[in-house]
């Protein structure tokens, strides 16, 4: 089994500082991290990089995280890709909506570094295989 250092994570956040911070934290934990700043870029990057996990911010202009998620789930090649939704807060309604739309997990910003790393590792080890 490949070590976690070979796992690729894509961070999608239109707030560049936030994306940078997330990438730094995960990179420091030995993960390969790429970052993009829109839903459209995310769809392209996912096809180009085949990440093992996507951290997807909800509040983005043009194409938000929910729409990006629906497009990933409607595409055979990315239907089962783990996608954790990223947001400042989640209410119950949003969480329910996320389950229906196929979100794998929720991560609240700002995060505690160790918590984020633990969550990401758990998602990468996930119930797959």
């Amino acid at each position: 089994m490949a070590g976690s250092e070979s796992h690729r994570v894509l961070v999608v956040d239109d707030d560049r500082d936030s994306a940078e911070l997330t990438a730094l934290v995960l990179g420091g934990a030995g993960l390969q991290v790429a970052k993009v700043h829109s839903g459209q870029e995310a769809l392209e990057a996912i096809h180009a990089l085949s990440p093992h996990l996507v951290l997807l911010d909800i509040n983005m202009d043009a194409m938000d995280g929910w729409e990006t998620l629906t497009l990933l789930r409607a595409d055979e090649s990315t239907r089962d890709l783990p996608v954790a939704m990223f947001s400042v807060r989640f209410d119950l309604r949003e969480k329910l909506q996320g389950i229906q739309l196929g979100a794998t997990d929720y991560i609240t910003k700002p995060f505690v570094n160790d918590d984020l790393i633990r969550r990401v590792h758990r998602l990468l080890e996930g119930p797959r295989g």
């Binding site: 459209q40 769809l43 392209e44 096809h47 194409m63 938000d64 929910w66 729409e67 629906t70 497009l71 990933l72 789930r73 409607a74 595409d75 090649s77 909506q97 229906q100 739309l101 196929g102």
Partner: protein, 234 residues
């Protein structure tokens, strides 16, 4: 929706063909002569033409020849319907296929399916969550966005409460994923079915919307998306 033009000078045959195709959610137009057929083709660009051979006026062979001579209509498949098929004349006129009279339902569907996709109504719904932006003219608060429950070539079900009334037309925009990238579809939808919110019911509240005037590139996007996800049996 697949558009089919039926051409025959005998109403009985038109009715018969129409009956056979009714369940398939096709948009069916008819013409009673070769000349009328040519005019109809210019007007509403069918996806496939079923063309009787023996008709008063220019008849089926000549009508076909003219369609095939015109670069704008050349690619529309023409299926001859003939009691006494003359294959060499059909080939000379540029016909794409033929079916003999009397027309049987299965044979008709089979020959049409060789050229265009038609699917039994109701079987073609693809469960898919898409974010759909609604430009609801009547509501002043501009755009809002909802999720779909499913999509077919003829329409979609939108999860939305309160549900807009039956007959309401709504501008809709949504994106579809393809291997080459995401493409947008803009279409007018008409509310044809309402599922009101009901705590006793397990049905998802919302509205069934029929696409109005979906055509060209946007229509083929929807068709491509739906067809790629249809079960093999269809």
């Amino acid at each position: 929706m697949t558009r089919i033009l039926l051409v025959d000078d005998v109403d009985l045959f038109l009715e018969l063909e129409r009956t056979f195709l009714k369940r398939y959610g096709c948009d069916i137009a008819t013409a009673r002569s070769g000349e009328e057929a040519l005019a109809r083709v210019q007007e509403d660009r069918p996806d496939v033409i079923l063309l009787d051979v023996v008709m008063p006026g220019i008849g089926g062979y000549e009508a076909c020849r003219r369609l095939k001579d015109d670069p704008d209509t050349r690619d529309i498949p023409v299926i001859f319907v003939a009691g006494d098929p003359d294959l060499s004349r059909m080939a000379a006129a540029g016909g794409d296929d033929m079916i003999s009279k009397p027309v049987r339902r299965e044979a008709l569907l089979e020959v049409i399916r060789k050229h265009v996709a038609i699917v039994e109504r109701g079987a073609a719904r693809i469960p898919v969550h898409l974010r759909v932006r609604l430009d609801d003219d009547v509501d002043a608060d501009a755009t809002r966005s909802v999720f779909s429950k499913d999509l077919s070539q003829g329409g979609m079900f939108l999860k939305t409460t309160p549900a807009p009334p039956i007959g309401r037309r709504i501008g809709m925009r949504f994106r579809l994923p393809f291997p080459e990238g995401v493409e947008e579809v803009r279409v007018m939808g008409e509310v044809v079915r309402q599922v009101p919110e009901d705590p006793q019911s397990h049905l998802i509240p919302g509205v069934g919307v029929r696409f109005v005037g979906l055509q060209g590139a946007e229509r083929s996007r929807v068709l491509r998306f739906v067809r790629a996800r249809l079960p093999e049996t269809e």
